[in-house]
Amino acid sequence: MDKKLERILPSVQKPARYAGGEFNAVYKDKSKVNARFAFCFPDIYEVGMSHLGMKILYGLYNEIDDVWCERVFAPWTDMERKMRENDIPLYGLESGDPLSDFDIVGFTLQYELSYTNILNMLDLGNIPLRSKDRGEDDPIVIAGGPCGYNAEPVADFFDLIMMGEGEEMSVEFIRLYIECKKAGIGRKEFLEKAVRIEGMYVPSMYEPVYDKDGNFEKTVAHSCAPAVVKKRIVRDLDKMYYPSYFVVPSTDIVFDRAMIELFRGCIRGCRFCHAGHAYRPIRMKSREVLIKQAKDLLKSTGYEEISLSSLSTSDYKDLKSLCDELLDFCEEKRISLSLPSLRADNFSVDIMQRVQKVRKSGLTFAPEAGTQRLRDAINKNIREEDLLNACRIAFDGGWNNIKLYFMIGLPTETDEDLEGIADLARKVVYTWRQSSAIKQRGVHVTVSTSSFVPKPQTPFQWFGQCSIEELRRKQDVLKDKLKMRNVTYNWHDAETSFIEAVFARGDRRLCDVVEEAWRSGCIFDGWDDYFSLEKWLEAFKKCGIDPHYYANRDRDVSENMPWDHIFSGIDGKGHLIKEWERAKQSLLSPDCRAKCAGCGANALLGGGACHV
């Protein structure tokens, strides 16, 4: 370990974050590899290490003999200060080498409020922030992840952005890189070759055009690049790479457990949900493959918990037999199974009772809206009876802690819908009184609301977000209505949701704002202790940009969007508009199993049908 680093670590909080050396971390001889990849997560170690995508790509790249992939996280502010004071550049956790020594520096775009951290990490790594300022000796800076579906607000900072699932295109990309490096091909020519790989978006080859009033008009592609970048998917998840090991952190992280991925995509078409649209079409892994992957992971990590990951666990077709088989294996080894993302309508008593034998945790349901009318408008196909029935089963089984998640500020929402949230909470408490097996312990219902952020590539992409004042008023209504015994109300701050909304549907002019905000000290904006609306508003003002233009303006369906040149697989002008119109009439659309809505994503499977 570097001497300077060794000297500062005793003076920072949780130094294990910065040390590396965890079990299963991959070490290679750098003189024997042809490409070095720095996988950067723009948040702290505890958050980044919980991210499944990083584990997959870390394993995938390191599977290739002549590629070495390392991990890089954002240092917390105490560490950053020490690093800057002592002239220690941001480094890869495995080798300790500075970021600027790597061939490829890749960021994951998980969350709009991590954008300033990306700039901070590039700066700490001595890499020019903007693609246009980088030379032959600088790393190629790339990105991928969900915010890539509209990466325009950060487009100037990346040389290349990968659209969609990385398992196949990452390998094609790194092989091309090695080939070009060996042939002495420079970065410009390399990018011209890379853009021919399906799913590769090279922002510098696309020019946004604005009209005389400053409204976005269209994006024009250079002749060497495709007019529209099509998202990549992996067609057969059973044959897809999945790591047989995870790096096991030596310090506590957010999700410290093994994870297997049941399926990608989602059969539900919840109209607010970005992932449910962007990750289509639905593809399942078979039970046999999942069991094998679970066993391999548990063996190689020693984890005492495994979680089943997907957008909606209870929609996995074979869930009961999968759980039964997993539990037989886990119970014997004292491993607990956790099932996040359960839907209240197909919640299974059998499964919960078996899971509960190992460890009983709280139960969480997400009705998202308080009335049936609004749940229909957002296409969250859950009925009140389903929810209360699920609660009844849970109370009967001895649970007494239920969390309910809602969103406020949804399209078409009125105060009646807010009252519906309070009603639902009251009914859940009432259900407990009726059905609880053990009344002495009492019941605890937690109602949490987040503020709705319209996301690109969803049916709500045209909706103008409620103002901060209106969201606060809604929160006040709920604070008042939810003053009842056994119920706790938590709400998520509306200010961060506003900034999130600006960037979710922003255009390339916002790159200047991100840089300005970072220069004025914005960092860790997703953390309440660091977020400053004031600083952000100041940055917008300095750049002459009105944030409300992006966040709060209702857009017309005829308007071109800054992300129109990115194709998620869903027919935007057809399917999304149809769903937006149905939402305004509070009309439900059936899930993919009940009836194909013709979103178009099955075309990504090469004409085959979705694996519903």
């Binding site: 971390a25 030596s250 020693g302 005492e304």
Partner: protein, 220 residues
């Protein structure tokens, strides 16, 4: 049931693992070995591991001890080798044996304190430091979870030797440790800084290399 004691080293990047995290790290390592280790009884059973004398985070440990159990009559074959394959960088299992001494008999620990001074140090610094701890009282504010008291740290020093090496000063010392009374060696460095202001310290590294009983024989 076989009560077992593990002697191990905690060096390199493993220095930064805190005590609580160290227990979890060992539990997972044991799980990876698939050795028959013992679990606690009760509603929420967990693997039984107990660190005998937790070492401060960032200290290197050359003589660390951890108690655990085997769900077996004896130490399983190749247990040490299997454990070493399952441990992260910097944790090295040295020996597994049946405990000899009781944890309450821990009375002292040996340390090597390496003080680095990039700009060098005044002549006879070694003598000055030895003098500091041999003569007159050396009062420091000692913090416990409940209170702060001023103590003479000499009362905790069982032995102390200083030698210089290039731009480093190495202090070898044995200090009180264990449940009755103990002293963190960082207090020694604090005392040097307070009393010998000519010494400009750029880095300090701590190595714990022994655990002893009252008579200063090795704790096993």
């Amino acid at each position: 049931m076989f009560k077992a004691r593990l002697l191990f080293e905690k060096t390199d990047t493993a220095k930064y693992i805190s005590n609580l995290d160290l227990m979890r790290t060992f539990q997972r390592a044991f799980a990876r070995t698939q050795l028959p280790v013992g679990y606690t009884e009760g509603f929420n059973p967990h693997m039984y591991v107990s660190v005998l004398l937790p070492i401060p985070t960032c200290f290197e440990g050359r003589y660390e001890l951890l108690d655990f159990e085997f769900d077996a009559e004896n130490i399983p074959e190749n247990a040490l080798e299997k454990l070493n394959v399952a441990l992260p960088l910097g944790l090295l299992a040295k020996e597994i044996y049946a405990p000899v001494d009781h944890v309450r008999d821990i009375a002292a620990a040996g340390y090597e304190i390496i003080v680095e001074m990039d700009r060098g140090f005044p002549k006879n610094t070694d003598k000055a430091i030895e003098g500091l701890f041999n003569e007159g009282p050396v009062m420091v504010l000692k913090r416990t979870k409940r209170s702060e008291t001023e103590v003479d740290i000499r009362n905790y020093i069982k032995s102390l030797k200083v030698h210089t090496d290039g731009r480093k000063i190495v202090i070898k010392t044995v200090l009180s440790a264990g449940s009755a009374e103990s002293l963190n060696p960082e207090y020694l460095v604090k005392a040097i800084q307070n009393n010998l202001p000519d010494i400009e310290i750029d880095g300090v590294f701590y190595i714990r290399n022994g655990i002893f009983k009252q008579d200063l024989s090795v704790f096993r």
